[in-house]
C-alpha cells in the first residue's frame, strides 16, 4: 500500500510535483504515467525517502520510508538501472545489498535465476547490456521479497521477450497480493500490464482510473466510408448518431492507423495514397457498426468501409495530457 497525500516538491522556482494525491492498492499492477519531466521520478524518490517533500506526505504501508523497520523486506525499488558501479560483478552487487538487509545468500542466487542472470552472475556489470542491467535492477527490487514494489521505467531497454517476461512477473507479483507501482511514458505497454493507471502531467494528477475504464471512455466511434457520405450523414444523425467528417477532426482513419503502426518506416508515404481516395469518410459515434450498416442499407447508401475504431491508449494519453 502506497499513499501519497497532497505531495508537493519545489526545486528553486520549479514546481516538479504539485499537490499530488493518490493511493496504490495491493493486489494489482498500477501504472504511473506521464511524459518525461511530468514528475514521476521525483514522486517515486519522495515515496522512497530519497527526496524530502516540500509539503504533503508519501507513505509506504502507512509510514514514511525512514520509519520502516526493515526497508528491504517492505519495499523493493528500481530507480535507474544504469545507476550501478560497473566494476562489481552482478553477484557481489546483489550480495552487498543483501547483506545490508540481512538477506540470505540463497535468496541472491534465487533472484539471479528468476531474472535470468544466473549465467552472468560472476561477470562485471560494466559489460552488461541495457537489458541485463534492467534485469539486475529488477533482481535488486525483488531481493527482500517485499510487499511493495516501485519500479521506475522497468521496461526501458528490455527486448520483446524481456517485456513479456516482466509483464508476466509483475502480474504474478500483484496476484500474490503485492502492491506494484511502475512508471512509464509508454501508454500502450501500460495498457497491457497495468490494471490501474495514475496519469500525471506537470506534476499534477490528471487521471486516477482503471485501464478498462480509460479504454472504454476513449472508445472512438465507427469509421464509415461511403460515396454517399452527405446523405448517409443526414440519415445517421436522424437516427441519433453524432457524425463528423473523419479528416476534419484530425483523427486518422482506422486503415491509416493500422498501416502506420504496422509499417512505421513507411507511415509517411502510405496515408497520402489512402487519403486521395478519401474525403468521403465519416466518424460516427453513438451507433454500433451493425446499426450503421442497417441504416445505410435501408437508405440505399453504398458503404465501402465500416470499421469500429479502437482508440489506442496512446491517443487517449495524448488527449488527456494535452
Amino acid at each position: 500500500m502506497i499513499e501519497v497525500a497532497d505531495l508537493t516538491k519545489v526545486y528553486g522556482s520549479t514546481r516538479a510535483v504539485s499537490g499530488l494525491t493518490f493511493h496504490v492498492k495491493p493486489g494489482q499492477v498500477t501504472g504511473f504515467l506521464g511524459h518525461n519531466g511530468a514528475g514521476k521520478s521525483t514522486t517515486m524518490r519522495m515515496i522512497l525517502g530519497l527526496h524530502a517533500p516540500t509539503s504533503g506526505k508519501a507513505l509506504i504501508n502507512g509510514v514514511r520510508k525512514s520509519d520502516l523497520q526493515d526497508p528491504m523486506r517492505e519495499v523493493g525499488a528500481m530507480l535507474d538501472a544504469a545507476e550501478v558501479q560497473g566494476g562489481r560483478s552482478a553477484f557481489d552487487h546483489l550480495q552487498a545489498l543483501a547483506y545490508a538487509g540481512g538477506i540470505a545468500r540463497g535468496r541472491v542466487v534465487q533472484v539471479l535465476e528468476e531474472v535470468g542472470l544466473a549465467g552472468a552472475a560472476r561477470k562485471r556489470i560494466a559489460g552488461f547490456s541495457q537489458g541485463m542491467r534492467q534485469r539486475l535492477g529488477i533482481a535488486v527490487a525483488l531481493l527482500g521479497d517485499p510487499g511493495v514494489l516501485i519500479l521506475d521505467e522497468p521496461v526501458n531497454g528490455l527486448d520483446p521477450d524481456g517485456i513479456r517476461w516482466l509483464r508476466t512477473l509483475l502480474r504474478s507479483l500483484a496476484t500474490e497480493g503485492r502492491t506494484v507501482l511502475l512508471s512509464s511514458h509508454l501508454m500502450t505497454e501500460m495498457s497491457l500490464t497495468a490494471d490501474r493507471l495514475i496519469i500525471i502531467g506537470h506534476g499534477q494528477l490528471i487521471e486516477d482510473t482503471t485501464t478498462a475504464e480509460l479504454l472504454a471512455r476513449f472508445q472512438g466511434g465507427v469509421l464509415v466510408r461511403s460515396p454517399h457520405a452527405d446523405r448517409l450523414a443526414r440519415v445517421l444523425e436522424a437516427a441519433g448518431a453524432t457524425v463528423r467528417p473523419a479528416h476534419e477532426t484530425g483523427v486518422p482513419a482506422a486503415s491509416e492507423t493500422a498501416v502506420s503502426s504496422a509499417l512505421p518506416s513507411q507511415a509517411g508515404a502510405v496515408p497520402s495514397v489512402l487519403s486521395s481516395q478519401a474525403g468521403e469518410e465519416l466518424l460516427v459515434s453513438g451507433l454500433t457498426a451493425a446499426a450503421i450498416g442497417d441504416i445505410a442499407l435501408a437508405n440505399s447508401c453504398a458503404v465501402h468501409e465500416l470499421a469500429p475504431r479502437q482508440a489506442s491508449l496512446e491517443e487517449a494519453f495524448t488527449e488527456i495530457t494535452k
Binding site: R45, A77, L79, Q85, D92, Y99
Partner: protein, 250 residues
C-alpha cells in the same frame, strides 16, 4: 548495523580501485628506500652532520595519509558518481548508518594496511641503513610508538576522506579537497608569523601522528592533546557528512 558493515566490506573489496589505492601506498617503500640510500651514501662519504634516517617514516609521512584518505573518498564518491547511492539509501534505515558502516570499514582497512606499511617502511629504512648509526632501533624512545601511531593516522585520514567525499559528492573534488586539507597547513605555515606557524603545522595529520607517539620535537601537542585533536577530526568529518547526507535530496 553489523549487516550494513558486512555490506560495505563487500562493496569495498569488490572494487578494483581499492586494490589500486592499496598498491599505490607501496610507493612509500620505494620512496623510503631511496631516501635512506641517499642519506646512507652521504654518511659514508661525509660522516655525521646530515639528516638521520631514524625510523624512516618521515619520508613518506605526507603521502600515506593522502593515499589512505583516497581510500575513504572512493568508498562513497563512486556511489555518488554512478548514482548507486540512491539504491543504497533505499535499502537501509538511516543514512547515518551507511556513513558509520563505511567509516568503520575504511578506518579498519586503513589502520591495518597503514600499520603493515609502517612496519614495512621501518624495516626497509633499517635494511638500507644497515649497521650505520643513523637508523633507529625499537629500543630507542618513541621509535616503536611512532610506527604504531602511523596506523592510527592512516585510519583518521581515511575517515576524513570519506567525510569530504560525502560533502562534495564528487571524486575529483574530494581528492583535491583531501590534498588541500592534509597539506594546506604545511603550505600556509610559511606565511604565518611565529608562534602560529608551529601551531598550524602541528595540526596536520602526519604531525599529529608523531605527537601522538611522543616523538621528540614533533610539534606543540603532547600525546593526550594529539589524541583529542585526531578524534575531533574524525567526529567533525562524520558529523558534517551525516548532516550533508541527511539534509540533502539524494
Amino acid at each position: 548495523m553489523i549487516n550494513v558493515i558486512a555490506s560495505e566490506w563487500l562493496k569495498l573489496r569488490s572494487l578494483r580501485s581499492t586494490y589500486y589505492v592499496l598498491a599505490a601506498t607501496l610507493s612509500a617503500l620505494a620512496l623510503t628506500g631511496f631516501a635512506a640510500f641517499a642519506i646512507s651514501h652521504y654518511f659514508d662519504t661525509n660522516g655525521f652532520g646530515g639528516e638521520p634516517v631514524g625510523t624512516g617514516l618521515s619520508f613518506s609521512a605526507d603521502i600515506t595519509p593522502i593515499l589512505f584518505g583516497m581510500l575513504g573518498v572512493l568508498a562513497i564518491s563512486g556511489e555518488y558518481g554512478t548514482g548507486m547511492i540512491r539504491l543504497t539509501l533505499t535499502t537501509i534505515r538511516r543514512p547515518w548508518m551507511l556513513l558509520l558502516a563505511k567509516a568503520a570499514v575504511v578506518a579498519a582497512v586503513a589502520a591495518v594496511a597503514g600499520q603493515v606499511l609502517a612496519f614495512a617502511t621501518y624495516f626497509t629504512a633499517q635494511a638500507v641503513v644497515g649497521g650505520r648509526p643513523i637508523g633507529a632501533s625499537f629500543s630507542e624512545p618513541a621509535a616503536l610508538t611512532e610506527v604504531l601511531a602511523t596506523g592510527v593516522g592512516s585510519a583518521v585520514a581515511a575517515v576524513m576522506g570519506l567525510g569530504l567525499a560525502t560533502i562534495l559528492r564528487s571524486t575529483p573534488g574530494a581528492l583535491i579537497g583531501l590534498v588541500a586539507l592534509l597539506l594546506a597547513p604545511t603550505g600556509i605555515e610559511r606565511f604565518v608569523p611565529a608562534p602560529w606557524n608551529d601551531w598550524l603545522s602541528s595540526l596536520t595529520v602526519p604531525s599529529l601522528t608523531r605527537q601522538l607517539a611522543g616523538v621528540p620535537d614533533s610539534g606543540g601537542f603532547g600525546p593526550a592533546s594529539a589524541t583529542i585533536i585526531l578524534v575531533s577530526y574524525v567526529v567533525i568529518s562524520l558529523l558534517a557528512a551525516t548532516l550533508a547526507i541527511t539534509r540533502r535530496d539524494a
